[in-house]
């Protein structure tokens, strides 16, 4: 959960604070969970809402700048900084929707049906956007 917020541009203190908010919300709203199998997407829905609320509170925009800033920051701890930057460049080439889906799929390692549940879109749309994102990356950057 901390990684979820950090990858989206929050510094460690903010990420910890938001992760706590998610845990608190999950505990107090656990009766609203429709099915236990939906626990993970449900938790990420809470995380997504928490993040959007935080952005609104801080009057910041969900844009690439934050992701890039976060990945630059992560560079210092990464054994191979250039590669982290490469991921950031790839994500910057996608639009906000595609980036959101690719982060959930690859960084959070979520299944398609869980991504569909978190973002409230049909599973086919999720697959379609992932497919198109890869085509976009291939056109823009060639072979990885």
């Amino acid at each position: 959960m901390i990684t979820y917020f950090r990858v989206r541009g929050c510094d460690l203190d903010v990420a910890e604070d938001l992760a706590q908010e998610v845990m608190l919300a999950a505990y107090t709203r656990s009766s609203g969970l429709r099915s236990r199998a939906l626990f993970r997407p449900w938790l990420y829905k809470i995380a997504r809402n928490t993040f959007l609320q935080w952005l609104r509170r801080n009057r910041r925009e969900v844009e690439t700048v934050e992701l890039e800033a976060a990945l630059w920051q992560a560079e210092s701890r990464s054994p191979d900084p250039l590669r982290t930057l490469q991921f950031s460049q790839w994500m910057a080439a996608l639009d906000a929707d595609e980036r959101q889906i690719m982060l959930l799929r690859y960084v959070e390692e979520m299944e398609y049906h869980d991504i569909a549940e978190v973002l409230g879109m049909p599973i086919g749309t999720v697959q379609w956007k992932i497919f198109n994102s890869k085509k976009k990356l291939a056109r823009r950057f060639g072979a990885p």
Binding site: T3, Q20, R77, S78, Y112, Q127, W128, K134, A143, P144
Partner: protein, 166 residues
Amino acid sequence: MRHGISEEQWIEYLEGGLVELHAARLGDHLSACPECAATFAELSLWRGKLAEEAARVRAAFETSPDQLERLLAASLERIGRSHPSWTFREAVMLLRLLVEPFCGTGTAGAAVQLAVQRSMVHGQSENPATWDLFVSNMSEMMSSVCGTEAGRLVNQVGVSLHVAQV
């Protein structure tokens, strides 16, 4: 539609989820069509590369055990402030949700059921003393099923919850 294969079928083939029969047909086509094979190979390469790079990102943001410990303590304090008192059943449900990611729904349900049975011997009712016993049983079971860390987590969360007398 390209070479009799729709883009949707390509998506499902590449992203997973295509039924076996169709997957076999696309596989045959790929082995006979260099153009589609090149496109498919490029997209598959991106799939692998993205997973690899994302793993590096995760590693760069990895949370240390100290950070996690601090986060858990702070979260429990916050939860305690907002929800000072729990019924026995609410608290059991919370622990069950907590352990499900470690051991799956079925095992978590069975462990909870067994821990409740062991804690309610001799007609005990749902009270703070029974709760302590339940936490101890649940923690012991989780330690043996999912490892000592899971057992410790159950204990840490369990003892932090204030279960009210019915």
